[in-house]
Amino acid sequence: MRLIFLSLFTAISTMAIGQDATDIVKRADEKMRGEKSSYSEMTMQIVRPTWQRSVSFKSWSKGTELSLVYISSPAREKGQSFLKINREMWSWNPQMNRTIKLPTSMLSQGWMGSDYTNDDLLNQRSVVTDYTHKILGEETVENSSCYKILLTPKPDAPVVWGKIVMWITKETYLMLKVEYYDEDLMLVKTEIGRELKTMDGRLMPTVYELLPADEPNNKTIVTMNLIKFNIPINDSFFSIQNMTRVR
């Protein structure tokens, strides 16, 4: 046991000294989602100048490839679930007892009408594996000193962004700001992490605001109501059988 801790510690210190851009992104990503697995309950609000709508959901994920999302409100969509295994995605509609396989093009569709895409929700781990990473410099975001890192998609990576720029805190590896650019390298949206709190023993932003570049009065706010990291969860949890059972 001590040996494991020791090697883990060594690994962490090596990373800290190396400060390789990929390591920083990986650590920040893992910090948000758990190194192995996570369970979270979130509410997403779509905010426009004259109205707002909200969607709540529960989300289970393991590693980079397995994800299951259950919608808990609004009433009309309640009970629907989405499963992603590698690049395959299914939806479950309890009303008509139907499991359908979704086209992969659906991954870049906005999640329930928000500025978040299905890909953001079900595939975000690809920021580590589908991109190359480069430190552009250091900048201060919300009084925290951050690394500014450029992510460029690898050739043939199945991603929707032309590039991503991230601001990650130097001490605590928190993604405080992320800019997403389209294939023409035009800014599409900016994500900002706020309200740092300790959740399941980790300091992290508990509210994320997503601001579309071309519509300054619009935003989507994601609030983490509950998050648990590294929960014991089998691969078999992510199955079409369980997609019909979770709630």
Binding site: R53, A75, R87, P103, F238
Partner: protein
Amino acid sequence: MMKKTVFLLIALTAVLQYSYAQNISKWEFKGHIKSLQNLYVPYPDTSYWFSDNTLDNRLQLTYYPTNWLKFDVQARNRFIYGDFVKMIPNYAEQIDTDNSFFDLSFLWSNGNSYILHTIIDRLNATVNYGNWQIVAGRQRINWGIDLVWNPNDIFNTFSYFDLEYPERPGTDALSVKYFSGIASFAEAVYQPAKTWDSTSLGIVYRFNIYEADVQFIAGKMRSLLTAGFGFTKSVGGAAIRSEVSYFKSYINKNTPEGIVGTLSSDYSFGDNWYVQAGILYNSFGKKNNQGNLNLFDTQVQSPMTLSRGKFNVMTGITGQFGPLVTPGLSAIANPTDGSVALIPTISVSATDNINVSLNAILLTGKSTDEYANFGQFVYLKGEWNF
């Protein structure tokens, strides 16, 4: 006896209150109320417009006594009043039909211009044990893999034109399912009936190979033997879907055997615009003078009556004008006679739980065509989900 009932009620209330206090309740209750203001403008005599209102209420109660057991009951209540009840002969009888083993259709009251009706379309118990799942009672058996027509859906075939019944009818059956992998299962279904020749049973095996969902089915649909297959795969971002079923009567040697098959594709453009297109081949369809679609009786008895003609084609698009407004347009056509049914819709989200939409079914064909223009049908819908 009375005391016992009162005690049970108190106990039940206590259980309900207790479980509501928990994060995951043992009870789930949901439903909707829809108000449909229907307008039918007949053709060629357009002088009298028929108007009709339907209040459609759905109640769904689910109880999870343990993590492996679930009870589900759902009722569809409708109050229909107006010209349709006067105009359509035997409308009440037509609505008060239950093709399942048990008659759970209740015509509470009807008169010259109104109908009050309830159908219990789900009433089942589900047992989950390891990789097994057994569902007994009224349920929806959904074997379809395609999105418009489902030749593989042999237990409760559904018409695309029954727009206001997205939950679809249920049927009395026993289903035994074994999940053999993360995306694969085998299922056997027994749908009892009073005679062997009206009994249905079947097996399906669905599995995932090369990122495709593939299924094979075989069974007996009333007095017909059937076998078929279906698949879905994502190719270049688009989903390709297909279902084919073969039918042959084992009673009547003169009844032609034949196949019903579909091929379709759907694709999302990423900005919430989504398109689909498909073709249906139905060897049981007729080449000419096939008879018309009846908008007032959309119940389909089998995949063999999914179309009147031999071929049907379908295309549709749905999109998003901002997050609140969802427009859509779909068209189903019989390419042989050139008749088309157009279904334009526009839906607006008024609050998190209230939607308002305007929908229509517009028909273009001559009187002998599949989508014959006997009039146009438009309706305004308000829906509250709870």
